[in-house]
Symmetry: C2
Subunit: 484 residues, 2 copies
């Protein structure tokens, strides 16, 4: 029973996912009996309290994830935004089953010292195709946190090399760093934003400020943090206030850089700034393209690196392959980090961020060619099935539908925002948001929260307007019964 | 032409690797023409200067790695000690080709929230089988650095929770940590050893002290470092001096702990100690089982966690699955970290190291079930093919042969040391070691250096006495022409 008159579902150039289910299907209460039993068993070996449900990955298909009790959910969370083209995509199956890929899937090479013979071809067919202009240096790594930490390392090496006028480290540098002491271990920092999330390893955790429970009790580097704009919605109503808010944050960034790098009045010098195009874990916080253009310019003016963290925004869900393409920068970012949908972690960089010496940005595996095969299937599917256009069309439809729902349930939903299918909406409180996510799951919609009271949409790129319609109808069912 | 009379090759219970080559085979100069061309091409996208050679992974088999020029090397380096059972092992092929594994290979689940239905079974068949006694908690992660950093996080959370008497963090803790400030971001540290290597991310790099070029220019946490014993060889000749050296290092550890945690005379409190059973990257530095038993006791006496980093030593190459099993500890380590041969990173821990709250030890993927399939093949092969016994037999034979070579070429080789196939030998200088590694590669032996002037043996567990004999003969060829 739907009371909002959603508009007709628009056409998309993307073919339907082969053999996909027609809708979600709930057979048991949530969680079902097999899920409960498996969770209890897992708890004896591992923390199982965060598990949504145990998945039948063989039965899952396209946009639908199937649990071990046979419940089928429309998945708009897509493995925390990391599933690029849905479950069991034929192109990925073909790559896994292709006999010529057997060897790459059967042993994990150390890519930095023993790359496979077709490594250059694999890069050309994947990361070179999705390369942001000007960022010719490609580094593959393990995951998003690893990507950000190594990007930080590349920035620190670049910054110190620049400070030395291009000379190698001195003997004193080399000796002091072995004791974690200056000058070899310099007091450098990365400036990050309140509400930002850049991972959970000790370095990137010092640049993360989304939720206290992720940070508390863990020692941190004494790195500065700047405010991120808090925009008011709808944007067109609050244009003046939002512009002032962005100017306030930019002034703050400039003041922090002056304090640290000009006045030398802080414990660290800032070597780089890291920012997400859309703060995801922090609650889907947006800023305008103009904000990012000005931020990029401030970084350049102060001679510090500008790192764009596209771990969650990258891979097409904003309708462009990289979210920072929406900004129309005249000077590209210095480094762009990625992971999630790309399956491999890593970063792109301008050539000056390649250290002269080998083994400075290095680890045992340096990524995984098995994941590059999946990335190739993804990149090919984006081109062949016009997935960016599909994402724009499906996202716009979902976006409009969310506005209609917020108009119908103004006490329940607010702050509809986003671009492409990278959308979010707020509930009245954290508790009501959590309740909504659980009730949605109980009727067949798999979604995820972010920030204090937001629900985020992060479907795969095979999410079509028909799926958007189904998501809207399920969401309305839940809105109807929530406290207004 | 071999002048050392190596003893006859002993028998091993392990069957020959199916279809393996009979020996190394060199067709071109090193590096060959295709390698040179591919390296130049790679250099336009990535740092290629560290590449040994480009590999034909389809043609590689068992202990032999084949390059794109058709050269076949006996591989005693095994992808920096990360290849468990050789190239293209039939059990791994079978796992990759098994249709029931297709779904797990085709999408990467978020294991912390959406594990596959057979996840518990997969743990039972792999990491639960290789579990050190008492360490019932299993956490899967991405790589060795990620394993160590998350082990550190678990230690910090445990330590602060203990300091609070089990209570959750206060509001002040939660607020201050968002600014990277105390008390929420406490001044805690991990004590590590000179010469130790625990990875290259910002936290674990502060515990790494193997080579300055890995650390310089990167900011570090102000964490303390203790000396690691420098043993003299042969051990039986230097027993008294070595015991005194170990006592000196243990006294130092105790003094650092008193200074930091009792006298509070340093900038940080120590929450844990991390140590490798054999310092690998640092130059294959050993200490006695008694040293480790006493170190473990000192940690317990001071109420700090004892972390054993088995990233390189774990997985059987010492003849036991975990190198710390050689110590006969009465009180097990608190945490044991792993990666490399295990294909998945992660750590084992005592139950008290599981945080009460969810999402504190967490990331998007929390490991990768595709790697668990390879781990299962490895664990099954160890049991079925008696690979630990094989490793002991092959290692002892190689060890004896290295002693014979060192006797024959005393100006070239010294300090033969190790256990199982986890062996090393020193050359006269860093330059001569580098020359030896290059010349060995040129005649068909793929090995790796460690420390300043050591060569390390890290073959897969399918390395048999016949391979040891071939390695010895190739090594003798090179020794004969090096400056005595």
């Amino acid at each position: 029973m739907v009371s909002v008159a959603f508009p007709p579902v628009p056409a998309t150039p993307t073919p339907a996912f082969p053999g996909e289910f027609s809708s979600a299907r709930v057979l048991t209460a949530y969680p079902g009996p097999r899920n409960i039993a498996l969770g209890a068993e897992m708890q004896s070996m591992q923390q199982a309290a965060a598990v949504h449900f145990f998945v039948d990955y063989s039965a899952s298909l396209g946009n639908y994830i199937v649990d071990v009790d046979g419940n089928r959910y429309l998945d708009v969370y897509a493995q925390i935004a990391s599933l690029p083209i849905g479950y069991n995509h034929p192109r990925i199956h073909a790559a896994i089953q292709d006999p010529k890929n057997l060897a790459l899937l059967s042993q994990r090479p150390c890519l930095g010292i023993l790359p496979p013979g077709d490594w250059n071809d694999l890069l050309e067919a994947t990361l070179a195709k999705t390369q942001p202009p000007g960022l010719s240096e490609i580094t593959t790594l393990m995951c998003g946190s690893c990507a950000n930490e190594n990007a930080f390392k590349a920035v620190f090496i670049w910054y110190q090399t620049k400070a030395r006028g291009g000379k190698p480290p001195t003997e004193f540098d080399l000796q002091s760093c072995m004791q974690n002491a200056a000058p070899g271990s310099p007091a450098l920092s990365i400036l990050s934003f309140a509400g930002g999330f850049h991972g959970r390893l000790l370095g990137c955790l010092s640049a993360t400020h989304s939720k206290a429970i992720h940070k508390v009790d863990i020692p941190a580097l004494d790195w500065p943090v700047a405010p991120f704009p808090k925009l008011q919605y709808p944007l067109e109503v609050h244009a003046t206030a939002n512009a002032a808010e962005e100017a306030r944050c930019l002034d703050y960034v400039d003041a922090v850089l002056r304090r640290h790098n000009v006045q030398r009045a802080a414990s660290t010098e800032i070597a780089g700034i890291i920012v997400e195009p859309i703060q995801a874990e922090g609650g889907d916080n947006h800023a305008s393209p103009n904000f990012f253009r000005e931020l990029r310019q401030i970084a350049a003016d102060h001679g510090v690196a500008f790192i764009v963290d596209e771990v969650q925004t990258g891979g097409g869900s904003t309708g462009k392959f990289w979210a920072h393409e929406h900004w129309a920068l005249s000077n590209p970012p210095d480094l762009v980090t990625f992971s999630k949908k790309m399956q491999t972690g890593g970063y792109y960089a301008k050539p000056e961020f390649r250290p002269v010496e080998t083994y400075r940005i290095f680890n045992t595996w340096m990524g995984d060619p098995a994941k590059m095969l999946q990335l190739q299937a993804f990149v090919d599917a984006v081109a062949h099935d016009d997935l960016l256009a599909n994402t724009t069309i499906a996202g716009d439809y979902l976006h409009r539908g969310l506005h209609l729902l917020a108009d119908e349930y103004p006490g329940v939903l607010s702050n509809v925002r986003g671009v492409g299918t990278y959308l979010a909406v707020d509930f009245a409180s954290p508790a009501i948001r959590d309740l909504a996510v659980t009730r949605l799951r109980a009727i067949g919609l798999q979604s995820g929260g972010c920030g204090d009271r937001s629900l985020r949409f992060r479907p795969a790129l095979v999410f079509q307007p028909t799926h958007a319609r189904e998501a809207l109808e399920l969401l309305e069912q839940v809105c109807r019964d929530l406290p207004q």
